[in-house]
């Protein structure tokens, strides 16, 4: 080997905790809440009072099965709950009821990432730190709020199949979209209903062995996930380059500083003493339960993207754009239906981003003043060359503002296309050639790039109403090409 720098490849696996959108908690009938007064949604069970026993929420199991099916997982015919023992004030029983050696869902795959397992468990309560700094370190007293304690969670664990921070972020978006589409969770990272930890390691490119990994906790937004993972990859790569070792440790991401700080090793000295939860009986997923879950699954975003690409000829990127934001996909497909079989599906898809740009990037087009059929009508006008591409953009702006039909706007604003049979356009083209003989000469010599200034001249003169293709055709014609 030469002294050339070794290339390093990051290896990333994710562990995602998803709060399930049930009405009640995992093991008691207290209602789920967000943002209520502390400790108003508690009962003897979720406070861990002596003598209480857990009873499994059937809907949480149902959602667990739906997640498994959506992620292509094997559903375990028989699974079990265990106790995970540790002391912490947010854990009222001194153990968390979770699944251990036999989770409800085994191996699966979403996109290019293999799923290791999905299991059900209960969420911890919320600890509010009161003290001078308001942060964990330095606070002298904390207050426990058990409203969140016992919320049903699905923990999704991936295989280490991701290789960059951006890939991780993109895949997490696919996962979130999928979970949202199947309706099992609000998947809101800011509110904590989707929480992601990452296991990060780095290895020499081409190696098939895994390096020492660190565990990154508490990255509570997509941006922080990408930031944290990127920072950790850089840190580990720098260590290896310097000939040093990566320490196996848990790192806490501080969103304020964007920094990763190690948790003290004492806190990591865990021995969870898992054993089968004697208060609960095994979970046996019956054919009827599977059937019900299958019946409730909508088309999954990844499947929709594949269908749009395959059946309608959309580019992969455009298809994912529409499928991963179901509201866009829905609007698109409604417009497609409204436009009838003549409508160009690819052309229509290309009009969704300009629409989104005009209504606000997070807005749902269904809530805008533009109806699916109006968008379809606009695309039809463009396809029939009644309106040029450029003019159509102005028409769309006016549609978003007024909610009027595109034909009405074209008529009112005089934005109809100037076509080749219209003597006016040929004259404007002639004027363009006369105004820029240098460009005309270059085009005549075969340099088609030089056609730009000529087309630009015509566009300016016609206020965008002429069709670009038609202008080019006329230029070539008049130059004798």
């Amino acid at each position: 080997m030469s002294g050339a720098a070794v290339e390093y490849e990051p290896v990333i696996g994710l562990e995602i905790h998803v709060q399930l959108r049930t009405r009640t908690k995992m093991f008691c009938g207290c209602e789920l809440s967000f943002g209520d007064e502390p400790n108003v949604h508690t009962c003897p069970r979720c406070l861990g009072l002596p003598g209480t026993l857990p009873v499994v929420n059937a809907q949480a199991v149902h959602y667990g099965i739906m997640i498994g099916l959506a992620l292509g997982c094997e559903i375990a015919p028989r699974s079990q709950f265990h106790r995970k023992n540790y002391f912490y004030p947010d854990l009222p029983k001194g153990y968390q009821i979770s699944q251990y050696d036999v989770p409800i869902c085994g191996p699966g795959k979403l996109g290019e990432v293999r799923i290791h397992r999905v299991h059900l468990e209960e969420d911890a309560a919320k600890l509010v730190h009161v003290g001078e700094s308001g942060r964990i370190h330095g606070a002298d007293r904390s207050v426990v709020d058990f409203n969140r304690g016992g919320t049903p969670l699905a923990e999704i664990v991936t295989e280490p199949d991701l290789h960059s921070a951006d890939e991780a972020r993109e895949w997490l978006n696919l996962l979130r979209t999928t979970l949202r589409a199947i309706g099992v969770s609000d998947v809101n990272m800011e509110e904590g209903s989707l929480r992601c930890d990452a296991n990060v390691s780095v290895r020499p490119l081409g190696s098939d062995q895994l390096g020492t990994k660190t565990e990154l906790k508490n990255m509570n937004s997509f941006r922080f996930l990408a930031q944290g993972v990127k920072a950790e990859i850089e840190r580990q790569t720098a260590l290896l380059r310097a000939g040093e070792q990566v320490q196996q440790e848990t790192l806490h991401f501080d969103p304020a500083s964007g920094r990763l700080t190690p948790l003290r090793s004492k806190e990591q000295a865990h021995d969870y003493r898992y054993f089968p939860e004697p208060d609960l009986v095994p979970l046996v997923v019956t054919e009827a339960m599977l059937e019900r879950a299958r019946a409730e699954l909508p088309e999954l975003p990844a499947d929709r993207a594949a269908r749009l690409e395959r059946d309608l000829g959309l580019s992969g990127e455009r298809a994912r754009e529409l499928a991963f934001r179901p509201e866009l996909g829905d609007f698109y497909e409604a417009a497609l239906a409204a436009g009838g079989p003549q409508l160009d599906a690819v052309a229509l898809a290309n009009w969704i981003p300009p629409l989104v740009e005009r209504i606000g990037s997070d807005a749902d087009p269904a809530g805008s003043r533009v109806s699916p059929s109006a968008l379809a009508a606009l695309v039809a006008l463009v396809s029939s060359r009644a309106v040029s591409q450029t003019a159509a953009r102005d028409v769309l702006t006016l549609m978003v503002q007024s909610g009027d039909q595109p034909a009405t706007i074209v008529e009112r604003e005089g934005l109809g296309a100037i076509g080749g049979d219209d003597s006016g356009l040929a004259q404007v083209v002639a004027a363009a050639i006369a105004a820029d003989p240098d460009a005309a000469e270059k085009v005549r010599d075969g340099n088609m790039k030089a056609v730009g200034p000529l087309v630009g001249y015509v566009m300016r003169e016609t206020k965008g109403r002429a069709d670009g293709g038609e202008i080019t055709r006329l230029i070539r014609e008049q130059l004798g090409l």
Binding site: T22, R23, T24, C28, G29, C30, E31, E37, P38, N39, V40, H41, T42, C43, P44, L47, V55, V56, N57, A58, Q59, A60, V61, R78, F87, Y88, P89, L127, V128, H129, V130, G131, R135, I136, H137, G138, A139, D140, R141, S142, V143, V144, D145, F146, D271, R273, F275, P276, P278, L280, V281, P282, L283, V284, T286
Partner: protein, 100 residues
Amino acid sequence: MVAMLERETVDHVARLARLALSDAETDVMAVELSKILDHIEAIRTLDLDGVEPTSHVIDVVNALRADVPHHSLPRELALASAPDPVDGGFGVPSPGASAQ
């Protein structure tokens, strides 16, 4: 005879169990636990190959609850036995402040 449990083992287990033991208690515990473990040791010599573990003696599966809310406790009642009620919550020494 199982070897006497090491003091370090007893200390480690006591920490896992969050039990403060004095030195004298630790010594006594080491002796007593060793005696009990010694008695228990016999079962480790049994031939249990292929025997399934029994964690439940009853043959029941899927004891599930419908996802229907019940009335939660009034907060005063939830906090009635709390050693340190603060601001509608349960006061505890902060986990981060346990450095000493």
